[in-house]
Structure formats: structure tokens, C-alpha cells
């Protein structure tokens, strides 16, 4: 009998846990440790953030699903990993602190044979003074944040209905943020809502981003064919901004936020301020607070985790210059080299380098979009880790395992606005691979056939379909595993 512990019940961890239970023997045990009682389909938080969906449409309780699937669920925060055990416990284990109402605050040790770290990001609002729900801006990263964002948006719409002009700033709140696609999507949802409310002409919408150019999305932009020409996501996004009359501040690092005022520095070193009535700025991400200890009790966190707090896996972390990196630097199996029974998947693994070119201002300020680890790659990594663990359990540690490199994996991003089947619109994009591979695709780093962008109602239907399909899958309903990640 083997025991697999999964830390985190987001896209990566939940996918991994369900697949593990499906593939492993009945006698093997799957344990999930996650602090929230509910699953959140995060991509749809965007719609909650404009008041088009409520919390219950994007979340559901995890316990009944895990009970039905015979997965043990601990509603708790994992705080430390002891990958070699300690002087008293010979097996590897994690330390957890419960967050449920019964055991709240009490801690426990959970032993494992295999461990998957899928703890996602720590929303690092603290990196920028005044950023986030405890400061002066809103966020859509959690369903509760999104509800608050919808309330703030409603308030500025009410002011516009009363004839007051309002400035809405949407984007990212630090030079090293990722997830620009989500900020872009939220921008278009807000614009759509303002139009619907009949107040668009009273609103100035400004997209504030660390991207050097529009359409970068943290992946260095895309090149695809349209009407017989190769075009760029830059041109395509600029066209969309022009059509919707949205302004942009690019290459920005937000330094500080005061009530109604954003202080930022641009990549050329100039500093500026921006007044706002409503601001949704995503926080930078870092790894969750977790420590790692050797058998003798010594702290090996710096060896196991990158300075960003994300877990180091089978990638090349030698820190070579941006111009020299290769697709092959990216991890294949997501195993921690020193402890191959530990995997880190989804946002939790440390990327070896940026995909979008990092830049520094003359003052030394880093403006460097971090690589996005979006839903589809996170799900695939979760599934592949599950399959590989099952292989290792069955065939022993020398068994050949599968690879799931982001340099051999695509991603889809559908930025959709509006609701209902007739009124929405969306910008749909796909890219393959996420991490450009100039050996395989010398001209653009990506497959031109599998990379595309398109605007229209069809993308909105796709986004709606994905919402219902992925929640169905996450609820592990009949045939869930047939739906791809």
C-alpha cells in the first residue's frame, strides 16, 4: 500500500488527486491537504468581478467530492516538508495546520510515500505598498476578492450614472507580475459592462501593465497568420484597444498606491502618478510560506525552494543570461532532484527563467513579466505527475516516466466579455508551445499552425462551454476523465 499526499486543491492538485485515485490500486491512499473548503474555478472569477456570476457559480464544496471518490481530505495549510523524515519519524512527512472550524489552529504530521506540491501562488500584495483589498485597489484572484471588485465597480457606475466622470485603471500592481491575460480579460469585461450600463462615455479606462508591448502576455507575444499574413499579438491587441478606446501604460512597475493615486516607474526610468476612482491590479505571485527540513532538523528551504518561494524541480536553474536560455531548460517531470518522490506542479514549481524579455530601468528597477502557468498546463502537469507516481509505485523507482515540459505543451486563453449567448464577445488565443522552442520552430519559436488569435462571439461560447465543462470535470461527475485538462 502506497500513500500519496497532494498539497493544494486548485487546478493542478485537484486534477492530480482525481487521476491518482482513478489509476492507483484501491489499497493505495490519496490524501489532499488544502486550506479552503471549496474548489474555485478561478478563470470565471473574472465574471464574478463584474457582477455577472455569483460565488456559488464558480465554487463548490470539496469534501463531498472527495468522500465520493474515497480521497481523504484535510482542510489545512501545509507548513513544512520533511522529505527524509526526522530523528523520530523515519518516513517523509509534512506538517499541517488545520483551518476548518473543528480543528482550527491545531497541527499534525502526515507521512507520505509520494508528495505533490500544488500549492499555487501566494498573492504577494505586500510587495507593493497600498496594493490589494487591504490597501486601495481590488483584485479578482479569489472569488471573495472578485465579489468586492464587483461592488466597487457598481459604485463607480452609480457615480457615472449621476453624471460624474470616472477613471478606471486595470492591470498589474508590480513589475514582476504574471497573469496579464487575466487583467486584459477583466479590462474588456469592465468596458463591456460600462457600455451596457450606458455610461461608457463618462469612463476613461487605462490598462496599466509591466508588459513592454501590448499583446506580450508574459510569453513574449505571439505570431500567427491571419488573412494570409503573419501578424503579431501586439498589432492585434492594439487594434482591440483602439476599437474600444482603451488607453495603455506599458512597461510599468507600480511602486506605491495611495487612496486614489498610483505611483509608478516606467522601464525608461521616468516616474509618474495616475489618479483613479477604481483600480483592479493583480498582485505579483510568490511561493506559499513553506519550509523544508533535513533528517537532522537543519533548514534546507534555500536548497528546495527558489528565492521566489517556488519549489525547484528538474529544470536548469543555473541563471544563465536571458539570451542564452533554451527550451530544454524547462522541467520535464517536475521532480525535486534530491527527493524524486516529491513533485511540484502548476504555479508551485519554480520557472527557470522569464519567457518575456526581462528589462531594468536606468534606476535598476526590474520590469519583467513572470512566465504564466495557466490552467491548461497546470492541469496537464497535475495529470502527468499522477500518472508518473502510479508508474513508480507499480514498476519501482527506475521506471521510465512521462514528460510534460511547457516547451512541448500548448495553452489556450479566451478573454471573454458579456453574458448570454448573443451579447458576448471574446478574444481567443492559443499558442503551442508555451515556451518557445527555436530549435523546433526556428522562425517564431512556436508552431504557426497551432498559434492563433481570433475575435468574435464564438470565443465567448467556448469560454462558457469551458466554464461548465471544467466545473463538471472538477466535480468528478460521470466520465470526467474523458474531458482533457
Amino acid at each position: 500500500m502506497a500513500r500519496v499526499v497532494v498539497m493544494g486543491a486548485g487546478i493542478a492538485g485537484h486534477t492530480a488527486a482525481l487521476h491518482l485515485k482513478r489509476i492507483l490500486k484501491k489499497s493505495d491512499e490519496v490524501i489532499v491537504v488544502s486550506p479552503n473548503s471549496k474548489y474555485n474555478w478561478i478563470p470565471s472569477n473574472i465574471w464574478v468581478g463584474v457582477g455577472k456570476m455569483n460565488k456559488s457559480q464558480v465554487t463548490f464544496p470539496l469534501a463531498p467530492v472527495y468522500k465520493r471518490k474515497k480521497i481523504t481530505f484535510h482542510q489545512a495549510l501545509a507548513t513544512a516538508v520533511h522529505p527524509a523524515g526526522d530523528s523520530q519519524i523515519s518516513s517523509p512527512y509534512i506538517e499541517v495546520t488545520y483551518t476548518d472550524s473543528n480543528k482550527n489552529g491545531t497541527s499534525a504530521k502526515i507521512e507520505y510515500d509520494y508528495l505533490i506540491n500544488a500549492t499555487g501562488p501566494k498573492l504577494n500584495f505586500a510587495a507593493t505598498e497600498g496594493l490589494g483589498p487591504d490597501g486601495h485597489t481590488v483584485s479578482v484572484c479569489t472569488s471573495d476578492h472578485a465579489i468586492e471588485a464587483a461592488h466597487s465597480l457598481k459604485a463607480v457606475i452609480a457615480k457615472m450614472k449621476a453624471g460624474q466622470k470616472q477613471t478606471l485603471v486595470i492591470g498589474v500592481g508590480h513589475g514582476t507580475c504574471t497573469c496579464e491575460g487575466a487583467a486584459f480579460e477583466y479590462t474588456f469585461n469592465v468596458e463591456h459592462e460600462l457600455k451596457q450600463a450606458g455610461v461608457r462615455d463618462l469612463a476613461e479606462i487605462i490598462y496599466l501593465t509591466n508588459e513592454y508591448e501590448l499583446g506580450d502576455f508574459g510569453v513574449g507575444g505571439l505570431i500567427f497568420t491571419q488573412h494570409g499574413f503573419q501578424t503579431t499579438s501586439k498589432l492585434w491587441t492594439e487594434s482591440l484597444f483602439r476599437e474600444r478606446n482603451i488607453h495603455a501604460i506599458l512597461g510599468a512597475h507600480v511602486e506605491k498606491i495611495e487612496a486614489g493615486l498610483i505611483h509608478y516607474e516606467l522601464v525608461d526610468g521616468t516616474k509618474g502618478t495616475l489618479s483613479f476612482d477604481f483600480a483592479m491590479l493583480l498582485p505579483p505571485f510568490r511561493g506559499v510560506d513553506m519550509k523544508a527540513f533535513e533528517k537532522d532538523g537543519s533548514d534546507i528551504s534555500a536548497e528546495i525552494f527558489a528565492p521566489s518561494g517556488f519549489m525547484k524541480v528538474d529544470a536548469d536553474y543555473s541563471g544563465k543570461p536571458y539570451e542564452e536560455w533554451l527550451a530544454s531548460d524547462w522541467p520535464n517531470t517536475y521532480q525535486v532532484p534530491k527527493f524524486p518522490n516529491v513533485f511540484a506542479v502548476g504555479i508551485a514549481f519554480a520557472p527557470p527563467h522569464q519567457i518575456s524579455k526581462p528589462r531594468k530601468s536606468p534606476n535598476g528597477t526590474l520590469v519583467a513579466p513572470s512566465p504564466p502557468r495557466t490552467g491548461m498546463p497546470s492541469g496537464i502537469m497535475g495529470k502527468v505527475a499522477a500518472v508518473n507516481i502510479a508508474t513508480l509505485i507499480k514498476s519501482g523507482n527506475g521506471a521510465k516516466v512521462r514528460s510534460a515540459s511547457m516547451a512541448d505543451m500548448g495553452a489556450a486563453c479566451v478573454a471573454s466579455a458579456g453574458s448570454g449567448l448573443r451579447k458576448g464577445s471574446a478574444a481567443s488565443m492559443t499558442m503551442y508551445p508555451v515556451v518557445p522552442d527555436y530549435m523546433k520552430f526556428p522562425t517564431t519559436g512556436r508552431s504557426i499552425d497551432d498559434t492563433f488569435g481570433e475575435i468574435g462571439l464564438a470565443g465567448h461560447w467556448i469560454k462558457l462551454l469551458l466554464h461548465y465543462m471544467f466545473i463538471y470535470k472538477a466535480k468528478a461527475r460521470f466520465g470526467w476523465f474523458l474531458i482533457p485538462e
Binding site: 501590448l214 487594434s239 506599458l250 481567443s428 462571439l457 470565443g459
Partner: protein
């Protein structure tokens, strides 16, 4: 200091025909099928 404004100002604007096609139901149904096929192809390439 909207440093993105200049390039946005020069970006191509969609024509009325393009805007209509983005909302045209029969055309969008066809695009729905086409995008789904493209996505499935892309997903297949990436699933190991």
C-alpha cells in the same frame, strides 16, 4: 504618461464588415466549430 497611446492610435481598425462578422450567428457557429477543432488539435499535441 500613456506611453501605449501612440501605437494604439496607429493600429488597424476593423471595418464594419469585420465587426458584423464577429456577431454574425451562422459565421460564428462555423468559427466555433473551427476554433474547437484547432484547440483539440493543439491539446492533442500537448498531452503526453
Amino acid at each position: 504618461m500613456e506611453n501605449g497611446t501612440e501605437s494604439i492610435k496607429h493600429a488597424p481598425l476593423p471595418t464594419e464588415k469585420t465587426l458584423r462578422s464577429r456577431r454574425n450567428l451562422p459565421f460564428q457557429l462555423w468559427r466555433f466549430a473551427a476554433i474547437n477543432i484547432k484547440m483539440i488539435k493543439m491539446i492533442r499535441r500537448g498531452h503526453h
